[in-house]
Subunit: 197 residues, 2 copies
């Protein structure tokens, strides 16, 4: 951010009075607006059809050609569930019944919060949307673990199979952080352990 979107003046990075974080602040005395930047929500669905789960093969960057769960940025004016349903419609041309909020992951290194719903596909009606090369149903034994696009989807699928084997689905919340640089870069996952009941 270099220019004020409100008045067109230049912007400087400074800690405003009464604040404790650097912000992008308009340098014009007559404007001086503070441009806050905050994390975005990514909403999506983990979709069951019988014993199988629906995955999409990405037709866009990043991670072109890898498999993922339908998900994308929540839009203004929609609820998180509506966003998850819309993304499923756009990427997999599927209408689903949302069952529950399943995983919430803060990706603090890229300022995103993923919210994934467990959902059900009643009829096996789906096809690749514009952002997908392929859409397919996978048994647990067929999941392409080494060809998944994002660690957050890997985590969501792991929690799913773990909960399914226990016969009870819970809501899981945690953080997925990228630590280190270059070849030493690795993903760290920290789940919130539920306190008392």
């Amino acid at each position: 951010m270099k220019y004020c979107s409100h008045c067109g003046s230049t912007v400087t990075v400074t800690i405003p009075e009464g604040d404790n974080r650097p912000r992008h602040v308009c340098s014009s005395v007559s404007c001086g607006i503070i441009h806050y930047q905050n994390p975005n929500i990514v909403a999506g669905c983990l979709i069951e059809h019988g014993d199988r789960l629906l995955l999409c093969r990405r037709a866009i960057e990043p991670r072109y050609g890898l498999w993922t769960l339908p998900a994308g940025f929540l839009e203004n004016g929609e609820s998180v569930e509506e966003g998850a349903r819309r993304e499923t419609r756009e990427e997999a041309c599927a209408e689903v019944e949302i069952l529950q909020l399943f995983t919430i992951f803060s990706l603090t290194h890229i300022n995103q919060v993923y919210m994934m719903f467990r959902a059900r596909l009643h009829e096996p009606l789906f096809s690749p949307g514009e952002e997908s090369l392929d859409v397919r149903l996978f048994d647990e034994s067929e999941i392409p673990w080494t060809e998944l696009a994002f660690p957050v989807m890997n985590q969501t699928l792991r929690h799913y199979f773990e909960d399914r084997s226990k016969g009870e689905f819970n809501t899981h919340i945690g953080a997925v952080r990228a630590v280190g640089e270059g070849a030493g870069r690795r993903i760290e996952v920290e789940m919130l352990q539920r306190g008392d009941v």
Copy 2:
């Protein structure tokens, strides 16, 4: 938004190619960047100390003088839990143990998603932060229902007492929408009913 924050040119509202929503798009041919606008997350805590709950009286607008639960905008670089804990520290000078994610409400008319955690205050150590006039512990019978600042906090407290009376706390997700204008304006709440188990 009137100017491009990237190059300072004017911005027009138009539907970009391959998109289906109006966006703020830079009018400069050499820039042409799309400025997406997305909902913000508000993170906060519903705090137990024994049978009582902690509320803060607002020292800022909107709703100066009314009672609320500590909450505020999630910042870049922090997880949702960290944001909820920081807001509690800032508004109530309290350190809490987070127990579980309790309510998630999409406020579609103002593009916010509230995420409230159930948390516990082990020692009764708290005091008003800069944005609070007062911080106090309330029994169920003492909750100032008619002096609560925001419908979303009202909803969160209602779910809390309902779950507590059942002896089991769940995660609740829904939407809070303002419908109508002026004197006819009312709040509609729609909860996601959990599907199968």
